[in-house]
């Protein structure tokens, strides 16, 4: 007896898309938070001082540490609440990609200096 194996995409995926959407969305959020903190650090001496977690590295240590924490916490919360759900992945991905593109643009110094 042979078991038929269908290689074509199925209309009924065995896993919901919630877990993947959570990972993708939180990655976009993490990149965007890093970009925003980078700009804020450049504009505010107070924020710059408060984000010096490791003096030899300067405010970059705080910018990246906070961004990574926000990314991981966001990911954990979304994973917990979305993992069993099927979500409108197109919309979530679009927001995540927009955040990623914005992050790439605003970290470019001539653009960041406009704020």
């Amino acid at each position: 007896m042979t078991t038929p194996y269908n290689t074509a995409p199925s209309d009924n995926p065995s896993l919901t898309n919630g877990s993947g959407a959570a990972a993708i969305f939180s990655a976009g959020v993490g990149c965007f938070v890093l970009a925003v903190l980078a700009i804020l650090t450049d504009k505010s001496a107070l924020i710059q001082r408060s984000l010096v977690f490791y003096k030899p590295t300067g405010p970059l240590s705080g910018v990246t540490t906070v961004a990574i924490l926000v990314w991981l916490v966001t990911w954990a919360i979304l994973e917990w609440s979305w993992r069993k759900k099927t979500l409108p992945a197109g919309r979530i991905n679009a927001i995540a990609l927009a955040l990623l593109v914005l992050s790439l643009i605003v970290t470019f110094p001539p653009v960041g200096d406009l704020f």
């Binding site: 995409p9 199925s10 009924n12 995926p13 065995s14 896993l15 898309n17 877990s19 993947g20 959407a21 990972a23 993708i24 939180s26 990655a27 993490g30 990149c31 890093l34 970009a35 980078a38 490791y54 030899p56 590295t57 300067g58 970059l60 240590s61 910018v63 990246t64 961004a67 990574i68 990314w71 992945a89 197109g90 991905n93 995540a96 990609l97 990623l100 992050s103 790439l104 970290t107 470019f108 110094p109 001539p110 960041g112």
Partner: protein, 132 residues
Amino acid sequence: MVVLAWAAVLSGAYGIYPWYRALPPPGASDLSMFPQRLLMSSPATIGWHSLGMEWKEHVSWFAPISITMVAFVFIRYGHDLRNHRQLRAAVLVFSVASLVAAGIAGFFGAEIDNHAPVQGGNTIQLSRGKAK
């Protein structure tokens, strides 16, 4: 790739970058041990810091964040990813973004090192170039 991406940004931020941004003692005229200040001391090289390093030090972190997400989705879904066209598309875009971010960081890292080689402390020397 995930391990390499994280190793690159962590070693860069906490190993190399402190050497790069070290402040010279007041009145120092020889800035060869202080790459950031050396670059900023000349209008011909200041752009390598104000544009190159300022962009590189932040954009490089997008690579490990993105590639970690990509690895997670591949491991979580495996072959089932073929059933999730939208997830595949997003993963592909983040993979490309990760490569672009790493490329930007690598390019500026190499160029900055060409213009202001990091020499480090008293015993560790990463480069030993002569002035042209």
